[in-house]
């Protein structure tokens, strides 16, 4: 090993050579933020790499996005869920830059918040509503079927509207709540991006698993697409048909959607 690899370059598991993405996608640089207590930053980076893009680690304490083309706010327990899940992280220096770039009039930055990242995005008010404890009061971890309700976002363009996908869900504060007026607006404007199918695992209003902002560049969801990106390490079921043991990779489409949109743009 002559050249030393940066930590972000070292695969945790899996063989990157097995996917054959469009080489043009490698020019897309996707920042993945790490806060104290973030857990899924490496998985999110891996998902970006497997989709063909170039992940770049971003640090919570640095108010600089390093000219990335998109940002993922990954899952975990930032600041140990102190105060409220996502509340402290929402005030971090890097998030002020994310809010600014995501709200820009021209070329708003695509942002994806997963699980705790979704909670952080609601605490920054980039997305409406909030997450409270699951209605059954238990932590939940299961492979969850979702319906992709709209492909008019930066992160779902590769799916057909109505497509069902299976990705892991794991959380304690996963019950999406918002006031009736907000819920009505989300439904009327087609801003419910992902909806739970078969069961509502946490009591979320309107079975909502994920939503987007008015322009569709900011998406947040509770389940984890980054944990279903490579056959052998995903769920044992898929919305696209029968797969083998751990063969589900339905989540990859979230990341390819972003890359394909940015390359086309």
């Amino acid at each position: 090993m002559a050249e030393s690899l940066a930590a972000s370059e070292v695969p945790l598991v899996g063989d990157f050579s097995q996917s054959t993405p469009n080489p043009a996608l490698a020019d897309v640089r996707v920042g993945v933020i790490t806060f104290p207590g973030t857990l899924d930053d490496r998985d999110a980076s891996r998902a970006v790499r497997l989709a063909g893009g170039t992940p770049l680690p971003l640090w919570h304490d640095e108010a600089d996005l390093h000219k990335v083309d998109a940002v993922i706010v990954p899952g975990g327990f930032s600041y140990g869920d102190y105060l409220r899940a996502g509340a402290i992280a929402a005030k971090a220096p890097v998030m002020s830059k994310v809010v600014e770039a995501a709200s820009a009039a021209d070329n708003p930055l695509p942002v994806l918040g997963i699980c705790n990242g979704f909670q952080i995005l609601t605490e920054t008010h980039l997305l409406p509503g909030s997450m409270i404890k699951n209605d059954h009061r238990k932590f939940i971890c299961r492979d969850q079927t979702l319906r992709v309700e709209t492909n008019q976002t930066s992160w779902t363009g590769d799916f057909a509207a109505g497509q069902e996908i299976v990705v892991p869900l794991k959380n304690q504060d996963g019950q999406y709540v918002a006031d009736p007026k907000t819920l009505e607006a989300l439904e009327a404007e087609g801003r419910v991006v992902f909806r739970y199918v078969d069961v509502n695992p946490n009591g979320s209003r309107n079975d909502i698993a994920g939503i987007c902002n008015e322009r569709g560049n900011v998406v947040g969801l509770m389940p984890h697409p980054e944990h279903a990106v490579e056959p052998g390490f995903g769920p044992s079921s898929s919305g696209f048909g029968t797969v083998g043991l751990r063969g589900g990779a339905d989540g990859l489409g979230v990341f390819t959607s972003l890359l394909n949109q940015l390359v086309k743009a």
Partner: protein
Amino acid sequence: MARIVVDVMLKPEILDPQGKAIANELPRIGLSNFTDVRQGKRFELTVEGEVTEELLAQARQAAEELLSNPVIEDVVNVAALED
């Protein structure tokens, strides 16, 4: 030195699983007259010198912008606490 107390409660319509768990536990220590429990948060903000109206206003701002999330919580009390 003086302190300002800020009390935050989940909105009445928001489920409070911790309160529920506590309510379920009370009969086990022989107390069965409490029909419901809601758990909130108390913050104590310490200031130099006396609590002034200006400091109380700042505490209210802290309560609205950081200590509570208006989507799910209400600030139910902001008051000076005499030592």
